[in-house]
């Protein structure tokens, strides 16, 4: 597949042909189920869009039955920015319902397959976007990352996925999961494309109060020759599988070869991350999803009075995982439990932030696993807790609001891609991309 950088040089005639070709290729592989449907806006370079980013006049449903029939009446800020930059929203990609999941299995549109092995999950929640790029069915895609939802599927599918610093990319028009953690980010074939797409979608937006008042760009000054201090986390990776450990060693060697300085550091035990994350995310989610009540839009269930309208619409409209998180969120916010859970989780969040800040006093980047394993087989996570634990390497980055980029390092013994992530300090996307570009060149991963 042509890269984003190359595609941006195509004539409108060439783009038209490219899109026609893409559409027919997508139609030829329905079993992959990366796309929910394929529509196009404008005449620019086609970019696949996750089903929770609002595109005017498209059906946008966050992979949920409760939003069936809903047509978005406005564009997300990232879509406006894409259109201005000569990119076209092209196709809506599958996702875990309301971005709650790590496998894309909870979508109401059915599961998406991993292009590297049809028995394996593509990861999630941006599994459709990752699979589309990995299968050569998209030049690039947008995903959203609340606890690893861009980086983990990127790692499982062997592509590049980047989560910007919280506040770098406007959340206006992103169907909210957890407001203080969500970020939209690029999912691409390589690091440079990620930088280009990141530059296009980032920047201050008055419509998002949490948007940072910063507009600096990175792709025109990418410098893989910079020599950086990069932290490794020997203790932290003990929880990872052998495949991931091997990839980690390989990446360290590559970074050393490229002339970077490696220093060993430690972070807080990741079990605290899991608790703080699931309390914060579900508390926010439970209120963010309360608007789906069957009154104004989306799917309304049969009912005989108001109470039934609420209860039936929500009982029928939400899937199991979403219900579980709504219940959990309501529990941690209820009176008598608020201090013990929500307030404590915010304290832990501060500690996590401080821990990262301490490490970044000494280093430019941190090298970390993305997931403990490669893509698991469908149905192999027997309970929700196992799935939650598989997020241990990604969620602290969201809790601390940091930028991170997942890139493929090698393949496992079974031929599945293994990705690792680099993490930078807040707003230091430049160093993140510089380091990632250097590692990408040195590793020379071939999908």
């Amino acid at each position: 597949m042509i890269t984003l950088k190359e595609a941006l040089k195509l004539s409108s005639k060439e783009l038209e042909d490219l899109k026609a070709n893409l559409a027919s290729e997508i139609a030829k592989h329905p079993e992959l189920n990366a796309y929910i449907d394929v529509n196009n806006v404008g005449s620019g370079v086609p970019i696949a869009v996750k089903d929770n980013i609002q595109v005017k006049d498209w059906s946008i449903t966050s992979g949920s039955k409760i939003l069936q029939g809903y047509i978005a009446p406005y564009n997300a800020t990232v879509i406006e920015k894409m259109l201005k930059a000569g990119l076209s929203p092209f196709g809506r990609t599958n996702m875990d319902e309301f971005a709650m999941g790590s496998t894309t299995e909870s979508s109401c549109y059915g599961k998406t397959l991993n292009p590297h092995n049809a028995d394996c999950v593509p990861g999630g929640s941006s599994g459709g976007s990752a699979a589309a790029v990995a299968a050569g069915l998209a030049i690039a895609a947008l995903g959203s990352d609340t606890g690893g939802s861009i980086r983990q599927p990127a790692s499982f599918c062997g592509i590049v996925g980047m989560k910007p610093t919280y506040g770098r990319v406007s959340r206006y028009g992103l169907g909210a999961y957890a407001s203080s953690l969500d970020q939209i980010g690029p999912m691409t074939q390589n690091v440079e494309d990620a930088a280009i797409l990141y530059d296009i979608i980032s920047g201050h937006d008055e419509k998002d109060s949490t948007s940072a008042d910063m507009n600096d760009k990175v792709s025109d000054k990418l410098n893989p020759a910079r020599k950086l201090r990069i932290a490794t986390l020997p203790k932290y990776i003990e929880h990872a599988s052998q495949d991931v450990k091997d990839a980690y060693s390989k990446a360290i060697e590559a970074l050393k070869n490229a002339g970077h300085t490696i220093v060993e550091k430690e972070l807080l035990d990741a079990k605290y991350d899991i608790s703080a994350y699931y309390i914060t995310a579900t508390a926010e989610a439970t209120t963010n999803l309360a608007r789906y009540d069957g009154i104004r839009y989306g799917r309304r269930a049969e009912c005989k009075d108001l109470k039934e309208l609420f209860i039936n619409s929500r009982s029928e409209g939400f899937g199991e995982e979403v219900k579980r998180r709504i219940l959990l969120g309501n529990f941690v916010l209820s009176s008598g439990y608020y201090d013990a859970y929500y307030v404590k989780a915010q304290k832990v969040r501060h500690i996590i932030k401080d821990e990262y800040a301490k490490v970044f006093e000494d280093v430019d980047l941190i090298l970390s696993p993305v997931a403990p394993t490669t893509a698991n087989r469908f149905g192999s996570l027997s309970n929700p807790i196992e799935m939650y634990l598989s997020d241990i390497y990604t969620i602290s980055v969201n809790l601390a609001g940091l930028p991170a980029l997942s890139l493929p390092i090698c393949k496992s013994a079974k031929g599945m891609p293994v990705g690792l992530q680099l993490i930078a300090k807040a707003y230091d996307e430049q160093t993140l991309f510089d380091g990632a570009l250097s590692l990408e060149k040195e590793i020379n991963y071939k999908g």
Binding site: I60, A72, A176, S209, T210, Y297
Partner: protein
Amino acid sequence: MFEVVIGLEVHVQLNTKTKLFCSCPTSFNHKQNTNTCPTCLALPGALPVFNKEVLHKAIMFGTAIDATVNKTSYFDRKSYFYPDSPSAYQITQLYTPVVEHGKLRIDFENGSHKIIRINRAHIEADAGKNIHEGDISKVDLNRAGTPLLEIVSEPDMRSAEEAVLYLKKLHAIVRYLDISDANMQEGSFRVDVNVSIRPKGDEKLYTRVEIKNINSFRFIQKAIELEVARQVEAWEDGTYKDEIVQETRLFDQTKQETRSMRGKEEAADYRYFPEPDLLKAVISDEMMALYSKIPELPDEKMERFIKEYGMSEYNASVITSSVEMAKYFEDMMDEGISAKNATTWLTVELQGRLKGDMNITNTHVDAKKLGLLVKRIEDGTISGKAAKEVLDKLVEENLDVDGVIDALGLKQVSDTGALEAICDEIINANQEKVAEYRGGKDKLFGFFVGQAMKASKGSANPQTINEILKAKLG
């Protein structure tokens, strides 16, 4: 003997141009669901953006009630499902409100005062409206997201009278500051009353009953009196524990009773937590300096009127009780008339003539007209009696003052030449009486004045007649 304990929560709709978290207009009476956008409809992905104009009004209010205005305040989500609440949470300020610890003075007719403490005033978003038509319920979200200031008093009031005095003063302050239309009928000044009773001398608070959304001061007074009577009766009958429960009741104005709004209900758990879509609301030093300069408030104006115009405390309090009245009075004074006359003609003559829905803001007789009318009395153009006739006409029709005076032929003749001729005639025709008068019968002076006025058909300026006759009769 019982003591009544009353606390009041007032929702004041702030008169900003746009809503609290989006740029939709706040105007009334538009077609249903037209003043809406993705944010106030709570569409997927829409986000709130705080309208800072609301802080300006909060600073003004905080300054007016001598409160602490927090330079940093925070927003919280309050969760509950209701069709008129699109996001199913209200954005409000639970943990750190913008205004705290204020106070307000109420004045009793006997001249004594009392301070009512105000616990807090916080910013929050209004809900939409549910409209029920038979089996069908509709939702209008034009009002959803309109900014409210919820003003919460301490339970400091001890009677319905005190509660109404507090509300009237609060209403006047809000209007003086012009931060709200504060129209009770239209719902931009909504009152919830918390009432409980306790044996006199008891310090603890007993079960408090909330009476919601009563839309006039008179009904509030009545509702409180009825609720207090209900509670006292229950206490005396020994049924207090069973009958008086913490609940919300409605005031039924036709049946003249308060009535339980819902059946037994689990205590609502609003699951408050900090709003993650908004930053803290910060008041800069510049903003604080600018908006804490507030217009003259009712109490200050009253004191000034007493001092400046020698007004009685009662008249001053009547004139300053509403910003419209005070403004009307001050506009009248621009005509250069006496405060005493201005007060009488405004509070007695004009107000006595305004019937039904008419009031000083919608009558034909604006302050300039009434001021001019008083001036015409003071400069001798017409008599006070004639002015009443003019005012009758002015209230009925939109006419100008001098035009009406002319049309009714009420102008007093002050032309000395014409009046001298009249006086000469009277003296010539009554030579005998003139002799008697000059002989010492002083009382006869009134007779000559009466005759002269009669001859002028009442149009003569009595003052001038007096002077002429005095001179001629010696």
